[in-house]
Every structure is written in structure tokens, then in C-alpha cells.
Amino acid sequence: MNRTITNLGMGLVFSFLIAPLIVVGGVSLNAQKRLLFPPEGLSLRWYGELLTDLAWLVPVKNSLIIASCSALLALLIALPLAYFLWRYRVFYAKALFTLGVAPFVLPPVITALGFLIFWVTLGFYGHMSAVVISHGIFFVTLPLVTLSLGFESMGDDIVEAARSMGADERMVFRSVVLPLVRPYMISGYAFAFVLSLNEYIIAYMVAGFTVETLPIKIFNSLRYGYTPVMASVAVMFALLAAVVFALVARFGDLPKLLGKV
């Protein structure tokens, strides 16, 4: 395509994607508790409030706990599954993979309602552990997909070479396979972590009235009137995500982790 048209198009997409973030960033700097852009009087007090007000700190803590635990759970489910699917040829491989991808591919509200009914039936409705497990299952797809990409990029000859030097199955896994898929594990974890941090509907349906996560807190405040703290939260989240993925890119080949050959 023509270079100028291409640059223009990419610039437009960039403006579309960055515009809300700029406005939110501006709003978060308002000195008064008013929703104005451009901001009137610059101040960082809303960031201070976010970090000191217990009403915001508790959701922050809840979200971090849920995100770190559920991402770990997702990784622990996805790793053996992806390894098995790569290492062995079985006729039900496709079914297993579909099962791993299905929770994420369905409209999230359906999965969320399924979890709600399940936890109500078991009597765990409103528990944080229910949110952790639900998120863990919901986000299995992310590490499963990145790990499958990682395993695919590894040739059989690597395993054969290790076997020919006398390593047994377990040894091959520990000494050859695991180090090679580590970047994919990290990026899968990062994906699940960041998306869990931002997930609303499942957390809301499973424990919305007892365990307040940050997205729920933001939505609740959105309903009951604006406060610029919401804007500062949004900015912090966008920055956190950018930092996490920049770190992933720093220590791994991001295009390759996302499926480029």
C-alpha cells in the first residue's frame, strides 16, 4: 500500500486508541472535584487519594490477590495440558484444546452466569476463592494459547537430541523443554494477570456484593456520581498494563510470543 496512506491510517487508529486515555489522564489532574477537560489547575491529589483512601485501597488489594492467584491457577492448568497436547498424539486432542479455549470464546456473560449458578448451588457464592477459581478457568485460554505457540515453535529434534544423550522424559522436560517455553509461560501469566485485574462481569456475578474488585468499585462510583479518582485509577491501570507488557517485550521477543514465525 502507499506509504502516505498507510501512515495516515495508522495515525488515525493511534488517535482513536489514545484519545480516551488522554482525556482521562487530563481529567485525573483536575484540582477541583469536577469533570473538566482540559483540567483546571493541575494537581496529583486524586492519585494520593487512591493510595490512601481505604475505600479504594481495599478493592486494589482484592484485585491484586485475585489476579495473581487466578493467573497462577490458569498457568498451572494450561502448562500440563499444552505439554500433553504437543508431546502426544491422541484422537481427543482437539476436544481437550476446545475445552480449554471455550470459556474465553463464549460471550463472557454466559460463562459468568454459569459460574454464578454453580457457586450459588455449591454455597460458595460471594467468596473470594470462588472468584479466583472462576477467573482461573476463564483465563486458561490465554496461557494455553501462548504455550501452544511456544511448544509448536520447538522442533521434535530438540527432544530427540536430549533423549539421545540419555535424558529421560522428566529430565528432558526439566532441562530442555521448560527453559525454552519459559518466555511463553511468563507472557501467558502476564496476559491472564492483567486481564483478570480488569475483568468485571464474572467478578461481579460471582461475588459483586461481597468482594469489591477495582472494576466493580469504579462502576459503582460511576453510578453514584463522578470522582476524579476513577480517572486516576484508569490511568494507573493503563500504565501498569503497559509496564507489564513492556517488561515482557524487554525479556522476550514479543512478536514471536504473539505468534509471528
Partner: protein, 285 residues
Amino acid sequence: MIDRSPRGAGAYVLAFGPGLMLAVFFLVPFGIMLLVSVAEAVKGGAYNLAFDGSHYARFFTPFFGRVLGFSLFIALLTACICITVGFPFTYALTRLGHRAQVVWLVFILAVLSLSEVIIGFSWSILLSRTAGISNLLVWLGLMREPVAWFPGLAALLCGLTYLGLPYTVLILYPPLSRLDPELPEAARMLGASPLRSFFTVVVPAMRPAIVATVIMLFVFTLGAYLLPQVLGRPQHWTLSVLITDQAIFQSNLPFAAAMAIFLMGVSLALVLVTSRLNRRAMGSP
């Protein structure tokens, strides 16, 4: 050759640990949901197991017909906008140098991970009268006075596109970055202009990926729950909003479950039909 058939209990544990987890926490909830969808609703959020098809019967009213129609319409429209913008964008992205690609991808991932709540909040500010983009246009002298562009259909479409676009890019990124760069060049050597080679070679060669992406986006957008409430008017509320409303605020789990099952059935049917048509159109390779 290495041995490809699993041997010993150890190998099976690998598959059945995760398989069991997924079955217990995903398939079982689904099964329960299916049962609940035909149960009797009891006041206070509980239900009695029964065989009651009345929840499904409630769909065949003009009200639900309209909500369902609108949900499908808005999801399809969003998917089409996303692919129209996202496909050329991703193609251009994959032709960039490695460093530029990394920077773009980090940015796209950061946007992707933004919560629906934050997206709704941001767009409501961006389109608002007091702090929105219309102020910028007033400042530039293009408009007389600032206006509110939300809530409304356009605002909802903006938000849904913002939600779907990063997904579009990430789904299309692997197949497009694997596309042989010599394909469009071959078309150019045969007399096609760059634009023409894009539309007659790159797009048709990527057709399966495009269709798959549209399906995923469609299903994904069907499930959007927050944006219709934040950015749309009540007539823009989708089936997802009704489901949540019934489940949480009306405490009518059976009806919510019936709607969820119905929504899934509709989306599954559409997915199957589209992929069948797609396969037929591509011929058997």
C-alpha cells in the same frame, strides 16, 4: 521418531488433571445452567428443579425479539467495523520493522487489557459536553458550542469498537505476519497497483482468518454488558444486560439461564453456518 502415544499413568495425569479442572468448573456449571433454565423460579433467588419451558416461551414476545435483534445487529456491526479498520491496520503493522512492531504491540496490549468499565468511563468523558472532544472542536472554531454525544448509538459503537479493535489486531497478527510478502509483490509484477494487489490477493488469501476473526468478535461483542448501559440509551440494552439484570436484580435465575442458553444457541448456530459457508466457498484444498 519419538514415541507419540502416552504411556504410563504419569502421561495421562498431565492431560486429566487440567481436563478434570475444566470439566468440574466449566462443564458442570454449564450443565447446571441448562437444568436451571427449565427450573421453577422461587422468590428470593432460589429455584426448584422441574421441567418448566415457560422461560423459553417468554422469548417469543415482540420485546425480546427486538432486544435479540438489536443485540445481533450491534454485534455484527461492531465486528464489521473492527475488521474493516483492524485488517488493513494489522497488515501495515506486520510490514513494519521489528522495533516499531514491539512498541505498537505493547500499546495494543495495554489498550486490550483496559477494563470495560474504564473504556465506558473514558468514552463517556470523551463524548461528554463538559470535558469532551466537542470542546476541542469549539476551541478550533469548528463548532459553536460543546454538545454531548452520549448516550447514543454512535457512542455505543465507538465504545464497542474500542473494546474489539485490540482483539482484532491480536487475532489477525499471527496469520498476517506469516503471510508470504512475495504474494502481493507477485501481484504487482503482474500489473496490479498496490491497492489492487491488497484487495485481490492479500484479502482473499486471508479469507479464512478474516471470517474466523469476525465470528470471534461477533460472539465477544454479544457478551458486552457494561458498555450498552454506560454509553447507550435503554433501547440499546442488549440481551447481556437483560441476563445480568434478571440474575442479579430480579433474582430470577431460571429465566436468566434460559436467556443465556438461548444466546449461546443463537451464536453457536451463526458460527456454524458461517464456517460451513466459508469452507464451501474456499473449496477443498
